[in-house]
């Protein structure tokens, strides 16, 4: 399965809906999307990963890169994920301490910390 990407605006946040597999082949597409959003002035991003079937370290690297970019503009990058197999990868790599991970898009959009 390939990667699917779509974006929508909710208040002052931009929600990126990601579906499919984020791996060494597809991660560059996600990177392009995040770079494009930041270049266009969207600095508060919510990446919804509920429809992601697979995520590897290349995908993690892209998310970390996205976080660095938005932070350079005092922005934020929040994740939405309830899938145990995906959350496990964030735990193994210690990235649960780096990303705010929410259980729903509504919660992520409302978060202000």
């Amino acid at each position: 399965m390939d990667l699917s990407l779509s974006t929508r605006t909710v208040g002052d946040r931009t929600v990126v809906d990601v579906g499919g597999e984020i791996d060494v082949y597809t991660a560059p597409k996600l990177r392009e999307q995040l770079v494009e959003l930041v270049n266009d002035g969207s600095y508060h991003l919510v990446v919804d990963m509920e429809r992601v079937d697979f995520l590897d370290s290349t995908g993690l690297g892209v998310l970390v890169g996205g976080l660095k970019r938005v932070r350079a503009h005092e922005g934020s990058l929040r994740l939405v994920c309830n899938q145990e197999r995906i959350l496990k990868i964030f735990r193994i790599t210690g990235l649960t301490k780096v990303f705010p991970i929410h259980t729903s898009v509504d919660e992520a959009v409302a978060a202000t910390d």
Binding site: E21, D23, V24, Y25, F54, D56, S57, T58, L60, G61, R85, I89, I92, T93
Partner: protein, 150 residues
Amino acid sequence: MATVELRFSALPEHVRTARLVAAAVARRAGVDEAVLDEVRLAVGEACSRAVGLHRSNDVAAPITVMLIEDEKKFSIEVGDEVPGTPVGSVPGVQGADGEPDGAESAADEAEDEMGLAVISGLVDDVEVSSTETGGVIRMSWPTVPDPVLP
């Protein structure tokens, strides 16, 4: 001899194929259903790393994946043909081949390290070795006694 041996060109698009094949053979070998996600992820990480190494070192040879079914365990060996790959070396410092020490290579290595971190976090039995002919990541998982045959 390996139960199944897979060789593929060092291209990112083939890593998914390797994941699918590895998971299918692991399932047949009797690896617990709950662990198959880990097998898929670990073999993907190992293959992504090998693809990255071949590409950054201009190695034209394919990546080799051996899927080996034993009585009590299922093993995967992912081999690259990049000699003496430094494992756990200082990030951003390249080998003696005069590769420029740019930000990009540092980023590649950080990604590489994260891949190894994922593998060692997932797999209890893992061994990373490197010789003059290339590197190998060996991983194994226990199998249940009576696998359900398709």
